[in-house]
Structures are given as C-alpha cells and as structure tokens.
Symmetry: C2
Subunit: 352 residues, 2 copies
DNA sequence: GACGTTTTTTGAACCGGTCCGAATCGTGAT
DNA sequence: ATCACGATTCGGACCGGTTCAAAAAACGTC
C-alpha cells in the first residue's frame, strides 16, 4: 500500500494552500463555492478520504474518546466474562453513543495496551481496588472517574452498600431469623476461610471496601435487634468452579460449618446462588429450611429456583453516570447511587 | 489545568536535546547511565508522565488499536443488547489482549464517532449487511475484516450456514418429518409476512445473505428426500416483544397458518425459542406434537424447556479469528468456520 | 477610477513526539 | 601527546492536520 494521500497533496494538486483545503472539509462555508467544488473534485480524483483523524487529534489535543478500565488486575476480557462488567460497560457505551464520543477498552494489566498508551481524553475505572492504576492516569493529567471508593479529589460513584445490607438483613430479622451465617466474597484467588464467631472484630482475608461496607450494614441491622456481627460466623469464599476445583466450595463449607444458621446473608448474588445450589445438594429446602439473601440483583437472581431476595442496583446506570460525569468534567464529585431491597421467594420465617 | 509538560520542557530543563530525553524513555540503553539518571530526575521533578501517546502515534503513523463496528445501522450499544454481538466482541477483545492491541468501539451510524473519526489501524465489521459502511473504511486505506459475506477483495469470515441448515433439516427428515414450516428472521423492523407454498421460488421481504444460505441448506436436504422448498410455507418474523407490540407475533402466526406442519425449521435460535413458547401457549407439547429446531446455539438454547436442537457455531471464535486476521494482515482471505449439529430434546419423530 | 470594507486565501507556527545522519565525546593504542 | 574508533548526543526534518494574523482579492460607493 503506497503512502496515503494527505491534505498537502490535495493542496498542491489544486494549486491552493493547505489551509484552504482544510477549510473545504472543516469549514466549507468559508470557501467560495466555485473553488470549493474544484478542490472537492481534485480530492475525489486523488481518492483523498478527508482529514485524517490522527492529524486533527494532534493539533486539537483532543482524541474525542474515553477509555474504560476493567476491575482489578485483569484484562479487558473481563468485560465479557463478568455480568457486572458487561452491564457497566453497556451503560458507558450508551452515554458515549448519546454524546458521539468514542469508547476504548483499556487493559488494567501492565505491559499491554494500557493506561499509558491509550489514546483517550479520560478514563473510567470500573473499580477503585487498584489505586496504583489510577495514578498513571492522573499523571497523564487526564480526568478520571472511578466506580468505587476513591480519594476526595477523584470523582467517584458508589452505591449504598451499607444501607442495602442493612435493609436486607433487617428483612431477615423481621421474619424472625436470629442465627445467621455471613457468606462473603473474596476478590483474590485464595482458599476459602471460615471465621467462627469470637465476640470480637475479626481480620478478614480478602475483602475490598464495598464488601466491608456491606458487612457494616449487616452489623447495623443486627445491632438494632440487639445482636452482634462478631457473634455470627463468616465464611469467605466465592464458590466459583475454579475455586471449587482448587480448594473446595466455600459456600458449601459455610453450610457445613454453621449448621445452626437459619439464614445465609451472602454479600453478593453469585455467592447467594451458590448457597442455594449447595443447600439443595444437602437436601435443604430454600426458603423452608434455610433463607438466603444476596446483593446486586444480577440477571440470574430473578430466574433462580427459588427467585432470590436481594438488593437491587444497576451496573448499567452506574456506567451511564460514570461516562456522563467524565464527559461533563468539572470539579471532583462523589455520587452515591440508591439501592432497593427486592423481596422474592428465597426468604421466609425460620422453621419452628 | 495548565499546559501539560512536554518532552521539550524536560529537555530544556535538563539542558539536553529532545532526542536524548526521548531515548531515555524509549531506548534507555542508548543513553549513559549518569545522564539518564539526571534526566529521569528532572522529568520526575517536572511531573512529566512519559511520552504522550498522541505524539508517538503521529510520527509512527500507528495507533496500535483496532475498531469494531456493530452489525447494521445501530450504535455500539448493540454489543450489549445482543448476545451474538457481545460474544463476538468478547472474542475480539480476547485476541486484542493477547497481542497487546487496543480496542475501540465504533458506531455504524453516521454523525457519530464513526468510521471516519476513529483512531484505529483497522476495522472489524460484525456483519456485511451494510456495505456502505465498509467503503469509508477502505477509503481511509485501513485494513478491514468482515464477519459475513463480502466481496473477494475483502477478508471475511463466514460460517457454514448452508451445511448447518442442511444437517439440521436432514435430522428432522430422518426422524420421519415431511411437513414443515420454515420460520425465518427479518433484519428490518417490518410486519411479519407469511408465504404460502407456491411450488415456485418466492420473493422474501427481509432476508440477508446468511439467511438465504440457510434456506438453501434447507432446500438441499429437502431435495435429498424428494421434497421441494417451494412446497413448504415460510413465515418471516422475529417474535421480539417490539414486533409483537407493533404487528403481532410472527412465530405464533406461523403455527396458526401452517397447522399441518409436524416440525418447525427456525432459521435462528431466537425464533426457535419463540416458537416453543408460542406452541406451549397453544397447548402443543414440544417435541411430542411439534418438533422445533434452531440455528446458532445461543446460550438460552441449552436452557430452554425442552432444550433446543440446533446448529452450533461460536460467535466468540468468530471474533477471535476476525481480530487475528486483521492484525496479521496479508492478502484478502475468506475463512469459513465450521458448524456442528447439536441434538437436544426439542426434536422427536412426528406423532402418528 | 480611487478608496474603504468585507470576504477569501495564504504562510507560518504549532501540536508532541520519533528518527536519521552528522557532530562530539571518551577511551585505548601507538 | 596524537590518532582512530566506537559510544553518545545533537539538530533538524517529519508525521498530518488546525489556527491565527496578515495579505490579497472582491465588492460597493462616491
């Protein structure tokens, strides 16, 4: 493929200045119709495709595109393997489309097309877990929006984790439950850990800020009923096939190690759905023998058997808002997205 | 925000040439350790974030990113509302990640961040339906890969539509079926159309090339058993909620207008699943009263009640391959992806 | 036809780097 | 001390456009 035709080629061929050709394409009304027609003809003859965005970008300094970085130390494939990431990205795409702005997927891993190389005007981070990823973006002096807990000088979007956890726990308490297991999520691939009740605060292995907030919400509700979070067993483990293959199924262990519990408070829906499955395997009927609640209201929550009582929030809306905040610019803001308790059929009063 | 620090600023501050600073970042081994350390210190002091990708891109001419354009005249949101598009994009992302190449989502709609503005080194089109979109990309002299039927000078990936349709139809014929309805897809939003058998080729309203190939495959199998496609009723309609609201449910009409059929050959899984639903509404048991087959093996096909007999192919693999072909470059190629008949529980011998 | 305006067109600077050939520096051998 | 040669560093061109002030052309008026 020979050298591409440039604006200058057209200018020379038409015997006018670069500027005039540029105007023909970017400010047509500025050039006399006759001349414009002549230049357009020349351009067509030379198969000139119009100003190359590369050049335009360089002089304007604007790329007219934003980058989205997936959660954690994973690559962009995560956007397609995780429901949350997918929905979030969908929301970002929605806003980008509305505003006529480009969207680039940027890997959070080093040595890849990443934060340092991406041709974008700003970044959206799907999660705040990796502050070290946010730093390079800020060093590039590009605006950043984080979906998650970030510093005061970074625009962020969080959800009412604490309130949601409080409400769903209160729901169980109001049904009459008093003995719980908390099934937590791990955001690293490590073996599940069971924490028996100690009556004192425990040190958990792999919980991020949002999960801590959810735990705080659970504690709030328990306290309202005179109970203590420290008296409830906590299981850390995700129950993914990979975890099960490597270490055994965390949620299942929760059921085995805390058989006295009448309800499981899972800190996300993935774990909750896993619990339901494991309960069935053990001949327990949900919600007759065991109530289960989750958090997030993923697509599968409504379809599970029984449908899951959980806390709804919208990854799509988060994504939409993240893109809006980024594109609107302005000083750092901190938006908290509302959540809503969704009572379905996985909860019932405890068996007598 | 004041002007960003540039390479030149660092050079001046360190009292060296631009080139040397550039080398410090791009070819560190070329500059003497002592000087390098000094320059790095100056850069740090000035909060220089390293070479701006914009500049690098301009001189190299390479953006190191590719663009993906969704099917048809839709925006990029389609990647998140359509299962096929999502899986396809996931495959593209997978390859991009492997190769350390950026990925941009590009709208197929005019007047948006589109083919003409995207900062990419090449394009992948999720579908060949809109040749007019491919043209501008080629005018920009960027390499293009199309997932679908395209001209001989454009690299394309197609699937064995005809063979798959032939096999799934043969499967029904071997079970003993002889009276069919073909439930076709429409790729435009127009009212469903019923085509009674005429014994002669009919003119369909909204079928694209892949669907035509599938029809040809159905015709092949029928011919092997001495039957003619022209003697089978064809219904065009998708059965989406939007269609149902505006015009009524196409697949349902197929059942009503061709009650003598013992099997429905749906040309994609969406329609097939719709047929199953509509059959249930009419008190028909699948597969006892009616066999149903689809095409594509979407995620829902295995989960439906009964699980759907269909033709498997992988949107993810298509995407992966599309990206590989684009990044590998080379002369136009035309890859045909294999399909595989997946027999599940939606087919059985016709009722006596 | 001369002159003041307004509209078009032009030339040069700039955006932020990379790259290549030439100039300069440092070092070991003579 | 001088020379040759390899290792460093420098200067300037280049990538493909946009932008702005100034020059040139067109237009209207007296």
């Amino acid at each position: 493929m020979r050298r591409a035709v440039t604006l200058l080629d057209v200018a020379r061929a038409a015997n006018v200045s670069k500027t005039t050709v540029s105007n023909v394409f970017s400010w047509p009304e500025r050039v006399r119709p006759a001349l414009r027609a002549r230049i357009e003809a020349v351009a067509r003859e030379l198969h000139y495709a119009g100003p190359d965005p590369k050049g335009r970008m360089l002089s304007s300094g604007k790329v007219n595109a934003i980058g989205v970085v997936p959660i954690g130390n994973f690559g962009i494939t995560l956007f397609f393997t995780h429901e949350y990431g997918n929905a979030f990205l969908g929301g970002v795409a929605h806003t980008c489309e509305e505003r006529g702005v480009g969207l680039s997927l940027v890997s959070g891993r080093a040595n890849e097309w990443g934060i340092n190389d991406a041709l974008v005007d700003g970044f959206i981070f799907e999660s705040a877990e990796q502050i070290d990823l946010i730093e390079p973006a800020r060093r590039r002096r590009l605006p950043v929006v984080v979906s998650g807990v970030a510093g005061p000088d970074i625009t962020s979007i969080t959800i009412e984790n604490r309130k949601g956890a409080r409400e769903v726990t209160r729901h169980l308490l109001e049904l009459g439950h008093r003995r719980f297991v908390i099934a937590s999520v791990m955001w690293q691939f490590v073996p599940p850990v069971f924490h028996p009740p100690t009556g004192a605060p425990r040190q958990f292995v792999a919980v991020g800020p949002p999960i801590l907030e959810r735990m705080a919400g659970v504690a709030d509700a328990l306290a309202e009923f005179g109970l203590s979070f420290d008296d409830m067993p906590v299981m850390e483990g995700c129950g993914t096939p990979e975890e099960e293959a490597a270490f055994g199924n965390g949620p299942g262990m929760a059921l085995d190690l805390a058989p006295e519990a009448t309800a499981v408070i899972a800190l996300n829906d993935g774990v909750a759905l896993n619990i339901i499955e494991q309960a069935k395997k053990r001949g327990l009927s949900v919600p007759r023998d065991l109530s289960v609640v989750g958090f997030d209201d993923v697509a599968g929550a409504a379809r599970s058997e029984p449908p899951l009582t959980t806390v709804h929030h919208s990854a799509f809306e988060n994504g939409r808002l993240a893109a809006s905040l980024l594109l609107d610019g302005g000083p750092p803001r901190h938006v908290v997205m509302p959540v809503k308790l969704v009572v379905r059929a996985s909860t019932a009063p405890p068996r007598k």
